[in-house]
């Protein structure tokens, strides 16, 4: 069909050349396994406080992760946001970037960075149970608002998990008062950022729904799940009190909200 420059077939043919789709699929699986290995090595070396090796390993893990995302995009012709495999690989990349460049190494062995690497390995373990291939072609995958909806949602999940890493670190510390100014407030800042990204996703979803179904709201489980996440975020910001006990509750709710978001994302993939 002429006049369709972004057809997935055209992209596939031009980008892959002689490579078959099966070869590409194997390459993606190999890339996933390699990034899994390097993230695991990063965690081990980080816990052992081997400063130079963990830095190199984390950069290699992030690079391999990025290459897998690029492979998915080139082979499928759409951005890697749509199925659980693509989505969680994108989340691990953002989370890894945040872990590398937006947090600090502390004296405490299980610090925020350690929790970030643990979370990444947890996400990559979840991926083990899902098909490791790009999502099926859907006509709406090139529609701007659909892409923004999924992109912002994945971005929100990544920042939410980063925020949760702060809250877990804060909650597990016995002398929490000293950590309030750095760890807790950083967690709160990234929770606010999550809210912004999640609402951007919701707004894109509203436009998508309006254009596809003629209304911006739908009485369906997916809309209720999104509302539930917004309510969880609102709940975390509305805990009363200015004492340390309130901060404890806030941190627990912040971490639980991350789990709720991840569960919803994964169950969507299952369905």
């Amino acid at each position: 069909m002429p006049g369709l420059p972004y057809s997935a077939t055209n992209i596939r043919q031009s980008a892959l050349g002689y490579r078959s789709i099966a070869d590409m699929k194997n390459l993606i699986i190999a890339g996933y396994a390699t990034s899994y290995f390097f993230y695991a090595a990063t965690l081990i070396t980080y816990l052992l406080r081997l400063r130079i090796p963990w830095r190199y390993l984390s950069i290699i893990a992030l690079t391999v992760n990025l290459l897998v995302l690029l492979l998915i995009s080139i082979s499928s012709g759409h951005l890697p946001f749509f199925n659980v495999f693509e989505c969680l690989l994108f989340v691990t990349f953002i989370l890894g970037g945040l872990g590398c460049f937006c947090s600090q190494t502390e004296k405490h062995r299980l610090d925020v960075r350690s929790w970030v690497w643990i979370e990444i390995l947890f996400l990559l373990t979840i991926v083990l149970f899902f098909p490791k291939e790009p999502s099926f072609y859907r006509p709406n995958q090139t529609f701007l608002w659909v892409v923004l909806f999924h992109g912002f949602r994945n971005l929100a999940l990544a920042t939410m998990l980063f925020s949760a890493a702060h809250f877990i670190r804060f909650r597990l510390e016995s002398r929490r008062r000293q950590l309030r100014n750095y760890i807790f407030l950083s967690g709160r800042n990234f929770l606010l950022l999550t809210t912004v990204f999640f609402l951007c996703s919701e707004y894109s979803g509203m436009i998508w729904c309006q254009r596809g179904w003629g209304d911006f709201w739908h009485w369906s489980p997916t809309f209720f799940q999104s509302t539930l996440i917004i309510l969880c975020l609102m709940f975390a910001f509305h805990i009363p009190g200015k004492n340390h006990r309130s901060d404890d509750i806030r941190s627990v709710i912040g971490a639980v909200t991350a789990l709720v978001m991840l569960t919803i994302q994964v169950t969507k993939g299952l369905s």
């Binding site: 069909m1 012709g77 006509p139 309030r180 709160r188 800042n189 609402l199 003629g214 539930l228």
Partner: protein, 275 residues
């Protein structure tokens, strides 16, 4: 009286309402996923709220209860929002104007208006779901407009319309090349016309004509589909509060973004997330 208003404005009250809302939506998810009540939500999507309570097309008693309960909890949240906002306004006037508190107040007020817009969209305007039409056919809307299908332009093999979306490759289905030409007229005079594509509806004032999907030609099973064109399944809706919600929602996001930036570096506990 002062004590009651203090309680209505308190964060404890907000927390309780949010917990109830979370439980309510969890119940909603369970209801929507059940075979018994799933259809009821389809009815809610295809009609406006007054029809849900009508005798002919009404919902089951449990769904009515769920919806009314949701409205009641939201109304309580609105009362909490009004009282809390009033207390903040008084603080700003009497004590000190703190910019990030003012922004938070605006965010809350905009949130209230967005929620109100959502509520309004359940009652105002109209909605015709799954309107199946073929070329040359028309459909009368209740405000006097008439929708006419001028042409259905479908370049692919109509056999693909019987397949699931997962089976459709970009070679088999060209969503950017398939469209329908429609005209909206009133009192015999066309007021607007244009093409409707998948995810590209036609809008005129508050009226929106959305192409949901193409329907197989009637003769497809008799091997004479080359003589018959596919039809269209449309959603025709009018939502007077749509523009308001679409304008306020980004304002709310922008406000939260500004608040985030303003309080990002504040590590002395000044920037508590309180209203």
């Amino acid at each position: 009286m002062k004590k009651i208003s203090e309680q209505l404005a308190s964060l404890y009250f907000t927390t309780i309402i949010l917990i109830v809302l979370m439980l309510w939506f969890t119940w909603g998810i369970l209801l929507a996923q059940s075979n018994t009540f799933g259809h009821g939500f389809d009815v809610m999507n295809s009609t406006l709220a007054p029809a849900w309570f009508s005798r002919t097309q009404g919902l089951s008693l449990l769904l009515k209860l769920w919806f009314v309960g949701l409205c009641v909890v939201m109304a309580v949240l609105a009362i909490n929002l009004v009282f809390c906002s009033w207390v903040t306004i008084l603080k700003i006037i009497r004590i000190k104007l703190i910019t990030h508190k003012l922004i938070m107040l605006i965010i809350h007020l905009v949130f209230g208006m967005v929620a109100l817009g959502h509520f309004g969209s359940f009652f105002l305007g109209y909605r015709y779901e799954n309107v199946k039409l073929h070329q040359g056919q028309s459909f009368a809307l209740k405000d006097g407009h008439i929708l006419i299908i001028k042409d259905v332009h479908f370049v692919d093999n109509p056999q693909v319309l019987g397949k699931s979306p997962k089976e459709l490759s970009p070679e088999k289905y060209h969503h950017n090349a398939n469209f329908s030409e429609v005209t909206l007229s009133r009192n015999g005079k066309p007021v607007t016309s244009g093409r409707i594509y998948f995810l590209r509806p036609l809008t005129y004032k508050d009226i929106q004509v959305t192409l949901k999907r193409f329907t197989p030609p009637k003769g497809i099973n008799k091997n004479n589909h080359s003589f018959r064109k596919p039809g269209v399944k449309l959603v025709i809706s009018k939502n007077p509060v749509k523009a308001l919600v679409f304008a306020l929602f980004p304002a709310m996001i922008f406000g939260i973004g500004v608040y985030t930036i303003m309080t990002w570096g504040n590590r002395k506990g000044k920037a508590r997330d309180e209203r």
